[in-house]
Amino acid sequence: MIQVENVTKRYGNFTAVSNINFEIDEGEIVGFLGPNGAGKSTTMNMITGFIEPSEGKIIVDGYDISKKPKKAKKQIGYMPEGVPLYGDLTVKEFVTYMAELKGCESKTKKERVQKVIEETGLADVQNKLTKNLSRGYKQRVSMAGALVGDPKVIILDEPTVGLDPKQVTEIRALIKKLGKNHTVILSSHILSEVSQICNRVIIINKGKIIAIDTPENLENKVVGDNSIYVTVEDTEGKMENIKDKLSQIKDVRLISENEDKTKKYIITGEKDIDLRKNIFETFAKEGITIFEMKKADVTLEDAFMKLIDDTQKREEENTKIENDKESKEKVDKEERASDEKKENKNNKKLEKKEEKKKSKLRDENKKEEK
């Protein structure tokens, strides 16, 4: 349905989007995910033909958006970021105007407008001026504008930003419903939203695609180990030797000691084995009382953070390698000096890494406590 081929967008020296490639099939709900300034909106704006890519081409339903913009744009309903509306029009007038812009025939226009207004739950406010509506309703009006005329592709830029929880669930339900007979692309920086709604996720960072996959696969990718958190009361100090009693356990680590003398451990086992039953039985035999036991799950959030961290690390390493090469070409003395510096740097890095680990553990503990 949509093909994006080698698309790059530059603003002067700044590359907003660099050489991205992906394809979206009919009937998919695809989520763009990325931190602020990652290039999500730029990519969406290019797909809708609002911005011309510096390089590459975008094909929507078989039409190149640069060469046959009218035909390509007819297939697209777009809800821009920040919900721009004409404040002096009423909801109904606005949706009608959008229908006219999209070239709806005047015979079916009225019906279509009414249908969309009902679908988006705007029937009660249809005669109000759009500037007097609340944020949530404005969002819906903008969405109605995108939906009118039944475009094959619906592109929503941050559709749930600034809505209250009830409205968010309503909008999500609406998007899911739309996904049944439309191709939907949406952007978001709320991960749970994307994993709930989308069939596929495209993660963008600094204008580059880091990953394209289903939310489940992305989560699985990050699951390194099979870990379980246990909180136990262990008066006899038997936890130290528990590894020998249960052969499937790879590692036992103490995370925290609580005030009520219970201790919290993270137990790592081999992959694909659920340790919980064995732990329960063995601990009971050993006289260790289990207060709490929980499997550590990985969320899309973790996947996202890890992917972004990984790419940043890789970039840092690359630049480091380049720097090293340059320094080697220099005189010996300088080389020695730089080596020393590097050692220092490495030491510092190791320290930093350890610190990071510690802080992560701390965070995890906090989460657990919550």
Binding site: K70, K73, Y86
Partner: protein, 227 residues
């Protein structure tokens, strides 16, 4: 184009702009009706339309045009238009004719002066129609300038100031050097007041308008490249 025209024309009257414009226009008309017609006891309406075009358009053209593209750019509704399957040419002409619609309404109301004079004397209807034709053409030129100014900025005030500056400066620049004479739209309005349609002036005004409309279309089509 029709959708844009309809919406823009409606917008003029949904906000107060349409009424303000017509009000100011009629005020200027009335002032010059007194100064040029009543005071001299003449039945000739040529100078009425000339002076209204000369002074009225300097105020009216920027008010009518400054928000055309600047406001859309600022509020982001530009995205809605640029991503819908309408051509930029259609959008620009839609907005242009919507503004012209307001001018035409004013001109229709200005028939009042014709009927007032007719009560006392015997004015020439065809001459008045020629004055009006010239008035429409001159207004078109002024609106096209304002529209272009609005398309190059997202600040309405700047757009308005550019339009006023252009209309005022060109009046005086021809005294600096005759090279600038053709930049002033009022120079193409010298035969109309005497009830004569001069091909040179009609073509001059139409090409002037066409030039600035094309500039606007070019600017707007380039938007997606530079944005």
């Amino acid at each position: 184009m029709l959708a844009v025209l309809k919406k823009e024309f409606k917008s003029y009257f949904l906000s107060s702009i349409g009424y303000v414009v017509i009000g100011i226009f009629l005020f200027v008309f009335s002032v010059f009706f007194y100064l040029t017609t009543i005071l001299y006891g003449s039945v000739d309406l040529g100078s009425l339309y000339f002076y209204t075009a000369l002074y009225g358009l300097i105020i009216i053209a920027p008010i009518l045009t400054m928000r055309m593209f600047a406001e859309e750019r600022k509020s982001g509704t530009e995205q809605l238009i640029l991503t819908s399957p309408v051509s930029m040419i259609g959008v620009v002409f839609g907005k242009f004719f919507a503004a012209m619609g307001v001018i035409v309404i004013t001109l229709l109301i200005s028939f009042i002066y014709f009927f007032i004079v007719r009560y006392f004397g015997n004015p020439n209807l065809s001459a008045v129609l020629v004055h009006m034709l010239g008035f429409i053409l001159v207004s078109g030129a002024a609106i096209s300038i304002g529209m272009f100014a609005s398309s190059i900025t997202e600040n309405q005030i700047i757009a308005g100031v550019i339009t006023i500056a252009f209309l005022v400066m060109t009046l005086f620049m021809q005294d600096v050097n005759t090279i600038f004479a053709n930049a002033s739209i009022m120079n193409f309005y010298s035969d109309f007041p005497s009830g004569v349609i001069s091909l040179k002036e009609v073509l001059g005004l139409i090409s002037f308008t066409a030039m600035f409309i094309s500039f606007t279309i070019i600017v707007m089509q380039r938007r997606k490249l530079v944005k």
